[in-house]
Amino acid sequence: MTTTAKAATGTPVVGFDQVSKTYGTVRAVDGLTLALHPGETVALLGPNGAGKSTTLDLLLGLKNADSGSVKVFGTSPREAIVAGRVGAMLQSGGLMDEVTVAELVRLGCDLHPRPYKPADVLARAGISQIADRKVNKLSGGQAQRVRFALATAGDSDLIVLDEPTTGMDVSARQAFWATMREQADQGRTVLFATHYLEEADAIADRVLVLHRGRLLADGTAAEIKAKAGARRVSFDLEGPIDEAPLRDLPFLTSLDVSGQTVRLQSADADATVHALYGLGLYPRNLEVAGLGLEQAFVAITAAEEAKQS
């Protein structure tokens, strides 16, 4: 049923068109335009205050945009939610106190137009063993899984998760993403905001980098790494180091000299190292390594800030 609905419509799952949202003097979201397509698993990445939560709030109709349009399955966010097409788990989403986990999940199922069986939802979220526990007696990680259960109480086409693994330990996190992959494998579109950059790298097909309410980068994790300068090069030099010629090396994106050690990032490490020898220098202990997404992210953000100031 979900697949036919998707095949029938060419409309994006989520469409933001020139969306802005301002709080006082702060532009939380600034002319954001993006489209999510059926079946994608998308990470929304950005530092605190980048506008991730506001973006998700706008997407879910919890906030109204000052300008621009937000469409979910071609309709308003609220209409999409009422049609049961969106399941969401918010960081700021609270739970009802003094009821049991099972009672709360049953409520979640009752409120969905195409619900799953409560027992199945509990099992999938890994909370069957704590079904009889009171919601206000749960640990942070357990509460997160209850929120996840509420987000997946029915057959939704889009799952939205705001920093879903906050408060989970490493094994719980792995179990969570395994569950999430099952959701994605069933053809659902998944959008998640995260601080754990390795999660975006490991799980998402597509990474959106948000900074100061604007879309800084949109691509696969590999493309984003490439965009930030693909390689990290480090070496030692003897004698006093003259930084000026180093700064003129081709494809250089950042340079750091401390003592006898030079660390730099390059968009084309081969060309940079070749030019290094061309300067008549003799680098020792030369190392060339790929950047993790985390460094790539820091580099993109820093480059953006340098451009603005």
Partner: protein, 243 residues
Amino acid sequence: MNSLIKLELTRALRNRRFLFFSVIYPSVIFLLVSNQSGNVGGSGLSVAKYVMVSMASFGALTAVLMGNSERIAKEREGGWVRQLRLTTLPGRGYVLAKTAGAAVISLPSIVVVFLVAAAVKDVRLDAWQWLALTGAIWAGSLVFAALGVAIGYLASGDAVRPITMIVYFGLSILGGLWMPSSTFPGWLQDIAKWLPTHAYAALGRAIEQSQAPHAQDIAVLVAFFFLFAGGAAWLYRKDTLKA
């Protein structure tokens, strides 16, 4: 929405402290206060009959005001209200479920006072009076249910409990639910007669006296209902835009 009402009820019925204060406590005060014989000045009603209506009204007030204002404030802050907005539940469903939940608790709090009054203090009324009393006090409690919702959307954090307490005790005492307002000094009586709690109890006393309710009491209750419900709706909308 029915499932949310059901869950709200389950939760309320599990809360012993809340049940004690809204269902048992008014009857206990009734037994303590209704010992005097004779009539309450000017009303022509025995002390037992007079206090019975006061305490039934007080119990209903407790049930609809105390639980909801604090719960709503907390659940707004805790994000449960946001979470519900991600479901198919219509926007007003949350408030309606809260009100319905309170109404189910307020009914026994009224009936238990009547049962205790009839069994222990030999209060006797016609069948229609018992039914009319129950109906009037139950329906009238909606005014205060709306007030509870309004406070829940107005106050937050640590402020909600003291505000609720001040409103609750202020309305109970000044409205004459604890002692007849005829014992107040004149200037206070002038204020008291415009309070919704005063009009609320007067409604019940008129039924006990086999009279039609006074137009002024009805007008006061209706005016306060629109004031509280309008305020609650306005605050609700403001909160929704903010969240």
